[in-house]
Symmetry: D2
Subunit: 355 residues, 4 copies
C-alpha cells in the first residue's frame, strides 16, 4: 500500500524517472463525470518540464493515455488507469552516477533500504512520479467543481523573496507562478542567478481551496489537515507543512488566534485556515508547504561511493533550479484528491445524519 | 477507519472528554514484548492533567487497565485493549455551553458535520482522546528500545521564548519540559502571565529519534516524513509540521542545504532531519510541530449560538494555558508508533532483499 | 489490521476467552442512530452461552457497557466502544492443558506463530471473541432497518438432518434455531445424542437478507459476495461459504442456472442468491456457511505436547456439542456489518451518479 | 480500494473486456526477486483464451509489458505495473446488447449501481480483468518458491463428472486441467456436448499449496482461510468456497473431524485443509471453489431491456462453455498472492517473537 494515497478515492502511482512509463490507477471515482483526456492534459502540461528558463530543460510531451474507467466520455465507476510514456529518457546520462551517492538525494537511503538501486536519474524517488498524481488530481478537481469548490496553488516565496499580494488570477501568467507581479519578477531573477552559479533555491508553495463545504474531514486520525499534511508531505522535496497561521501560531495568544464567529454563520477572520478540529469550517482552506532547494547542483560537493570511498561530485544535467513552479500543480492535485475523498466520505454518512 | 492510525501496527482510539472512559486498541503488536501496566502508566503520568501550575487543574489519576493481548506479562500477538476511566468528569460544567459555539474549538464544525454535538467539554475533539495514543505509544517505544532506538520530545518554544540549548536530559526536570534551563524559567513565567490575563499561549514541540536504523519508510506515499506528518498533525491544536530545516529550507540554496556524506558512511551534517526520499538515513530524526494557543480563554470573545444569534463568551473552567508540556508525551507516542510500524514493514521485506 | 473488518464502517475486536473482558470498537458509524444498550443486549443474549441443553453450560450474563460514541441515546459519529466483562472465567480449568495441543483447536498454530500461547481456554481463538461482533452488528442492523432491510440467520442442517422448510419466523422458537419445526426436533435429538457420546456435531447456518437495495458491493475485489465470504469465514469453525446455488451450481448448465428477468424489473428466480457480478440484485441475499463439529470432545484422542511427546487427551469442561445455534447471531452480525458498509460506500458515489 | 486486494503485498487491477488494455499494479513486492517477462508470460499463456476447443475462441496473445519496478532483471521494491493490450477486441459485436440485460450477467446490476454501463462485452465484470491477477500472481509465486512453497490448481469437477484421482502432475496435460486422466476425457466430452447444445457447464476448481510454513494468517479477521475466501470469491462466477472437509464437515462428528497430532510434530490426517484457527498448520492447504456455468449461452432466454420491456435473447459470440480450465491459473494467482502477503506479515513480527 505504500504507493497508495486516499481512503475511498485512492491513487496508486507507478514508474521511475527513466523507465518506460509513469502512471496511476485512480480507484473509487464515482460514475457520471464527463472526462476527456484534454482535461487531464491541461494539468499535466502545467507540470511538464521545459516550460521556461526557471525549470529543467528535459523535454517531455507527457501525453496521457486513459486505459480504462471511461466509456463514451464519461467515468463508469471502474478504476481509471492513466499512463504517460517517457520520450526523453536518457538513462545513459546516469551511468557515471551508478556507484556514487548524490548528496541530498535518496540514492543512499534507497540503496540501504532495498539493497538494489535504480540509478537512472532518481529512479522511483524522481519528481517524475508526480505525473500520475497530477493526472488523477485533474479528475478529482472535476468532482469538486460540481460542488462549487476550486483549488489553486501558487508560489508564495522563493529564497528570501516573499509574495506580499494574493492576486491568484495572475499566478499562472508568470513562469514562477507567483500571485504578486513584482515579487514574481524578483523571484525569476534570483532563480536564474542561482542557476548561473550552478546552485539552486528553495521556496514556499501555498494552496487555497475555496467553496469547500462545512463538514469535511474525519477526526480524529483522518482530520482534514492531517490528511492534507500526509498528502503534501509525500511529495518529494517538501520539508514542512502548515495550515492557517501555522508556525506563526506558536507566537500567538489565544485571544489573537481564535476566529470570532459572526451572526448568521461564518467567521470574522480565518486564522484557522479553514479547518477546526480537523473538519472544514466553510472558510477557504489555506495551507503552505516548504520546498527545499533541488539537490542536483553543479557546485562541487563531498560525498561517498558504494564502496564507502570519498568522492567529489558535480551533478551535471538538466535540473530544475527551483522546484516551486512545478510543485504548484502537484500540490493542487494532492489537495483536490484529499478534498474529494473527504467529500465522498461525508456523503456516505449523510443519509442517517439528523436534520 | 477515521479513528485508526498505522499500517501494520495500528491504533484505534475511542472516548470523549466527559464520557465514562477513553482508550485504545493496539493491533499488530508482535508477541514476546515484556509489558506491564507500570510501564504504560509512566508515560500516561507524564501526559496527565494537574501536574503543575502551567497545566490544567482538572485532576485525573488516568489509571490504565489492560484488557487483552498480554498474558503472564508478555504480549501474545493479540490486540491490546487499554482503558482509562474518567474520574473527574464534570459534564454539568458544560450545560451553559450547550447552545453556543466556542471560538477556536471544533463545536461548530462537529455540529455541522454530524448534526449532533456532544457538548460535554470538547467531546471527541478533546485532548483527552490522546490518552489512548500515549498508552499505545508506550508499547511501541518498547519495540523500538529493542533496536536501540530512543524517542524524546521537548518544548522548543513558547510564545516568543525560544530554547537555544538541547540539553534533552534536563527537559523532564522543569514543568514546561524545555531542554534549556534558562529558557524554561522564562517560558514558565510567560505562561503564568498569560494565564493570569485569562489568556493562553502557543509554542513549538520538537521530537528527536536517535538510533533509528537506515531504511525505514515506504516511498512514495508512505514516506517516513509523510507518515510522521500525518500522525503528528492528527493531534488537536497542531497547526504545522516540519522535518530538519523545514521552512528554513525555503530560504536556502542547494549547496547549503545538502548534507555532505563522509567516508565510511554517514553524514557531515543533518539538515535533512534524518530522512531522505522518505527513508531514514541513520542520522537522528528531528521534527517540529507548531502548537496553537489553547482556545479556551477567560477573555471575552464574540461568537454565535446554534440559532445563529451573536453571543459574548468567557470560557471559565480548568484549562491549559499552554499545551506544549502536555503535547510532549503525545508527540513522542505518535513518533514511536510511526517508527515501530515502519520498522515492522521493513522487516517484512528483508528476507528477500539482496545482501 | 488483522483484527479489523470493514472499509468505511469498521469493527476492531479484542479479548481472550478467559481474560478480563472482550469487546469492540465500531468506527465510521453515522450520527443520528437512536441506540440504547438494550437493543445491543438483545442480540448478545441470543449469542450468550447457557441458553439451553444444546449449548455450553458456561454461564455468562454478557452485559454490555457502551463506553463512547453515544450521547443522549443517539450515535454521534464518534467511535463506539463496547465492552463485556467476563464473569464465569475459570482460567484454572485449563492449567492441565498448558503443555498439550488439543486436536482441531488452534493451540498448536498459535504457539508456532507467536512463540507464546494464552492457554486459558482458546485464548484469542475462542468463540468468545464474537461478543464484540454481535454488539457491533446490532448497530449495523439498526442502520439497515432504516432502509427496510432485514437480516435473519437460522440453522439449516445439523449432521445429516436437513431443514426442508424456511418458516423463518419460527426459527427463534426452538433451541437449535431451525425454521422447520420437524427438523428442529430431530436436530435437537441428534445433538443431545452426540453430547452424551462425548462427541459433537457439525451443521450449516443459512443467512437471508431481504429488502436489500440493488447496487451494493464494489467490484472487483470488494464484490459483495467476496466481502460476505471474508466476514463469515473469519468466524471460527466455519469451513465453507456459498451464495445462491453455491456448490450445486457446479452440476448445473447455464440454461438452468441463469435467472430470467421479468417485465417491470426483478427476476423470475433467485439462483444467483441476490448477487450478480458482486453487486446486489434487489432479490433476497441467501448465503450458507459450513460449521464444523466443535473440537472439544470428551472422546479420547491422540495428540502431542509442546515437547513433541505423544499424549492421550479427553477434553472435559463446558463445551458446545453443536455450534450452529450460537453461530446464528454471529453470522447475522457479520452480514449486517458487510451490508451496512456496502450501503455507506454506495451512498458515497450517488451524488455524482447519472440519473 | 474496491479494486485492491491484499494488505502488505497488494494488487490493484484495471481494465475492461473490450477497452484498450487490462493490467495491474503490484505494490509492496520485496526487492531482489529475479524477474523476467517470460516468467509472467508463462502463467498468462495458461489463462489466455483460444487454447483448446473447451475454451472461448477469442484470440488474444496477451503479451505482458512490465512498465516499472524491475531494473536489470531484478525487482527494486518499487510498484510493478504490468499492462496487456487488447488485440482482438470487437466492441461492435456488442452493439445489439446495448439496451438489453443478459441473464446471469452483471449488466443489470452495474447499470443500477453506476447509472451507466460499458456494454462492450461485460466491461469491467469480464473475466478479462483476471489478466492482471495472473500477472501479479506469477511474481508472488516466485516469492513463495524461495520458501519452498508450491501452489497448483486443477479442475476437480465438471457438471456431474468428478475427478477421483489427484495426479496433479498430469493436470496440465489435458485441456480441462484435470488430475484424473479418465475423468478428464469425460469432462471434455460433457463440455463439448453442452457447447453443441448452445449451453454451458459449471464445475469445481481445487487448489493445493504445499510447503507452506506453519504460522501464516492473522486472526481473527485476517484468518488465512478468510483471506483465501475473500480472494477466491472475488473471481467472477465463483459461487462457493471451502477449505479441507468444507461442507462435508457439516455432517461429521468432532471425533471424525479432528486431525490427531503425531509425535515429532505434524498431523495424522488433514481434514482441516492445512489451516487451524486461521493459521497454517504446515500441512498442505486444500481449498475448493464452485464455478458456475457461463452465463453467455446460445439457448433462448427471457429477459428485459433498459426500458423494462420483455425480450427474448440468444447470446451469440465467442464464449467459454465451461470456465474451470481458465479459472485454474487465476485461482492459483489469488492463492499465491494471499500466501505471499501472509508470509510477509509473519516476517514482520518474527524479530520480536520468543524463540
Amino acid at each position: 500500500m505504500s504507493n497508495t494515497f486516499g481512503r475511498l478515492l485512492t491513487i496508486t502511482t507507478f514508474g521511475e524517472s527513466h523507465g518506460p512509463a509513469v502512471g496511476v490507477i485512480l480507484d473509487g471515482c464515482p460514475p457520471g463525470l464527463e472526462l476527456d483526456a484534454a482535461l487531464i492534459q491541461r494539468d499535466l502540461d502545467r507540470r511538464r518540464p521545459g516550460q521556461s528558463a526557471v525549470t529543467t530543460q528535459r523535454s517531455e510531451a507527457d501525453k496521457v493515455e486513459v486505459l480504462s474507467g471511461v466509456f463514451e466520455g464519461v467515468t463508469t465507476g471502474a478504476p481509471i488507469a492513466m499512463v504517460v510514456r517517457s520520450e526523453d529518457a536518457r538513462p545513459q546520462d546516469y551511468a557515471a552516477l551508478k556507484d556514487v551517492f548524490r548528496p541530498g538525494h535518496a540514492d543512499y537511503t534507497y540503496w540501504k533500504k532495498y539493497g538494489v538501486r535504480d540509478y537512472r536519474g532518481s529512479g522511483r524517488s524522481s519528481g517524475r512520479e508526480t505525473v500520475g498524481r497530477v493526472a488523477a488530481g485533474a479528475v478529482a478537481r472535476r468532482m469538486l467543481e460540481r460542488e462549487g469548490c476550486r483549488v489553486q496553488a501558487f508560489t508564495a516565496q522563493v529564497g528570501d523573496v516573499i509574495a506580499r499580494e494574493r492576486q491568484v488570477e495572475i499566478a499562472e501568467q508568470n513562469p514562477v507562478r507567483c500571485p504578486d507581479a513584482k515579487a514574481a519578477a524578483e523571484m525569476e531573477r534570483v532563480i536564474l542567478e542561482a542557476r548561473e552559479a550552478g546552485d539552486s533555491l528553495g521556496g514556499v508553495v501555498e494552496v487555497w481551496a475555496t467553496g469547500v463545504p462545512v463538514g469535511l474531514g474525519d477526526p480524529v486520525m483522518d482530520k482534514l489537515d492531517a490528511s492534507l499534511a500526509w498528502g503534501l508531505m509525500s511529495i518529494g522535496a517538501v520539508k514542512g507543512f502548515e495550515v492557517g497561521e501555522g508556525f506563526a501560531a506558536a507566537r500567538m495568544r489565544g485571544s489573537a488566534m481564535n476566529d470570532a464567529m459572526v451572526a448568521g454563520g461564518g467567521f470574522a477572520s480565518n486564522r484557522a485556515g479553514g479547518i477546526l478540529g480537523g473538519i472544514s469550517t466553510g472558510e477557504p482552506i489555506v495551507v503552505r508547504i516548504a520546498v527545499k532547494p533541488p539537490s542536483s547542483i553543479a557546485v562541487a560537493q563531498k560525498t561517498v561511493d558504494t564502496a564507502g570511498q570519498e568522492r567529489d561530485l558535480e551533478v551535471r544535467g538538466r535540473h530544475d533550479p527551483c522546484l516551486c513552479p512545478r510543485v504548484v500543480p502537484v500540490a493542487e492535485a494532492m489537495v483536490c484528491l484529499t478534498l474529494a475523498d473527504a467529500l465522498m466520505r461525508q456523503r456516505a454518512i449523510e443519509p442517517w445524519k439528523p436534520k
